[in-house]
Subunit: 337 residues, 2 copies
């Protein structure tokens, strides 16, 4: 067996990350301490939240230190177990980091159903899918006939939000980057409308296009991108609208705007009686079994569709991550090791 490979944080990015912010390092494969298992990672998840971990600022989870392995979820086979409940050969998932192998506390790992494709635990049946399901239930109060807008609509959160909302009888409007993603949003994920944000030079132009396809206004805006899309949608919100704030990918590298947009945003919240709620999925893991019980059969039956973008090899992870932050992926970004 070869050494363990890891991608570590070599430098804190200024704005958008670049390849030099990461380093590929090697070391010995760990041994499991008491209560631990060692997993050989087959698939690694890349998610926008990881950009936040690269900064040295207080957030809901600690930053990655310089020289440390990038944080992240992986799946793989157990190759050594020093914990009850796990045997060599089991399929497991946990916070492996961007690495070929990881020692995990058994209490922080989860055994996977081998009837399901391993990578599903990272996307449609993992954190992104669960985030979509949770946010809709807890913070959106979706009603049949209402209109929902979501950007990054072919990504794993967007695709699930769109499909669940459509099934609940909502009018669903996708915003995505490029004609191809727009076509996928409508054809694969059943969005009623899809707008290519790149086709509109500013928030005002995007807003006009949105107003055309949302003639009754917007009841739910799922926030995962912020920036231009947020500015476009906000004036179209209906009274009593709901905005789960799940991410703000367009601002992760910093936002540059000379005008203070806070007063107008605050005024919209007041005047439209909006409900804006921060959503961090880590608060909601108790509901995960209920999610899995409801959604896994629908994924297996094909009722709920998903899309994966797979990069090959751990060394490809930094480029795939950098590209994902720029919208280079179409579906859930996975790295296959």
């Amino acid at each position: 067996m070869s050494d363990m490979q890891s991608i570590t944080l070599a430098r804190r990015p200024s704005g958008a990350p670049v390849p030099q912010d990461f380093a590929l390092t090697t070391g010995p494969i760990p041994q499991p301490s008491q209560g631990e298992i060692v997993v050989e990672v087959s698939h690694l998840s890349l998610d926008p939240y990881m950009r936040g971990r690269m900064d040295d600022v207080k957030s809901y989870a600690p930053s990655v230190n310089l020289g440390e392995t990038m944080t992240g979820q992986g799946v793989g086979r157990v190759i050594a177990s020093n914990a009850a409940g796990f045997e060599v050969g089991d399929l497991a998932t946990g916070m492996t980091g961007w690495a070929s192998h990881a020692a995990l506390k058994a209490t922080e790992a989860r055994k996977l159903d081998t009837n399901l494709k391993p990578s599903l635990a990272l996307g449609v049946l993992g954190m992104p899918g669960f985030t979509a399901w949770t946010g809709l239930r807890k913070y959106c109060r979706p009603q049949a006939g209402e209109t929902l807008v979501i950007a990054a609509a072919t990504g794993p959160v967007g695709a699930m939000v769109g499909q669940l909302a459509k099934a609940a009888g909502l009018r669903t409007i996708a915003i995505a980057g490029g004609a191809e993603k727009c076509a996928i949003a409508k054809e694969q994920f059943g969005f009623d409308e899809a707008l290519d944000h790149r086709a509109y030079e500013d928030a005002g132009a995007l807003r006009n296009a949105l107003a055309d396809v949302a003639p009754d206004g917007v009841d739910i805006y799922w926030e995962n991108v912020a920036g231009k899309v947020l500015e476009a949608v906000m004036p179209l919100m209906n009274v009593g609208g709901r905005i789960p704030v799940c991410g703000m990918i367009s601002w992760y590298g910093g936002a540059e705007e000379s005008q203070d947009r806070l007063p107008s945003m605050w005024r919209s919240i007041l005047v439209k009686r909006l409900h804006v709620s921060g959503l961090i999925i880590f608060d909601h893991w108790d509901d995960y079994p209920a999610f899995l019980a409801e959604v896994a059969p629908k994924v297996l039956s094909g009722e709920i569709k998903y899309l994966e973008d797979v990069a090959q090899g751990l060394a490809a992870a930094p480029e795939a991550f950098i590209s994902m932050l720029k919208g280079g992926n179409t579906g859930k970004q996975i790295v296959a090791l």
Copy 2:
């Protein structure tokens, strides 16, 4: 009987209103049409929301047109009735506008209990008190031991929020303008702490002072002022904190800031999983009888205290309003006619 006097909107203000934006006009006292009553106004309410009505922008309620009587709630005796359920001599309240007399649809007027001082229907038992009670119940989920911060703390919303929160076992922190108001906040309304925002030159200095008196962070920030106070409080919010957005008086005349504060605000909402809800009391009038049944006895018994600032005469209304927007009042601003 003399003519009717009204204060009309002479000019749309640019920033803070000035006396020239208003005009005193006279005309005949109206006669009641079918289903109407005519009220001789004894007390008129001045409220921050009226500043919004002076602008020609879409909001939750229509603007006042140029030359029209300023909108507002009044109380007074019925001097003519053409509607079942009201007799001459009854005490009634409704949207009289800033005027000595008003014809009101009986369906939009409310008869008042003559055991209660008429002006109470404009403050502690009127819209401001009801706003405080509603917002706390519906959007704040107050828990004993939590910390609440509110500015304009001696005003009619602030005083009620503070007293209800204190009774529910919260630690209550007042922000007010000047030492006198701070003393009133603590002595009359039972706030645990009171900070004079004028004593701190910027949001950072105010934040440091707040952090000292809120060592466990802030769970509920009742937003009625925005600006410096909002910036001071936001970084101190605890995870899961709640922010009812009820007003933003410091931005009503426009906000000037070269830096875009929206991204950091949006990030706080995400990272702290805050719940921000717009609150317009007009949505909640169905609950008013329950409010009155609960709170009126406590006001009569002195368990809930209130404070009124009374300007004398309709002609004094513009100056009193202008002063109120600058924090010149201490309690509920009333005009006695």
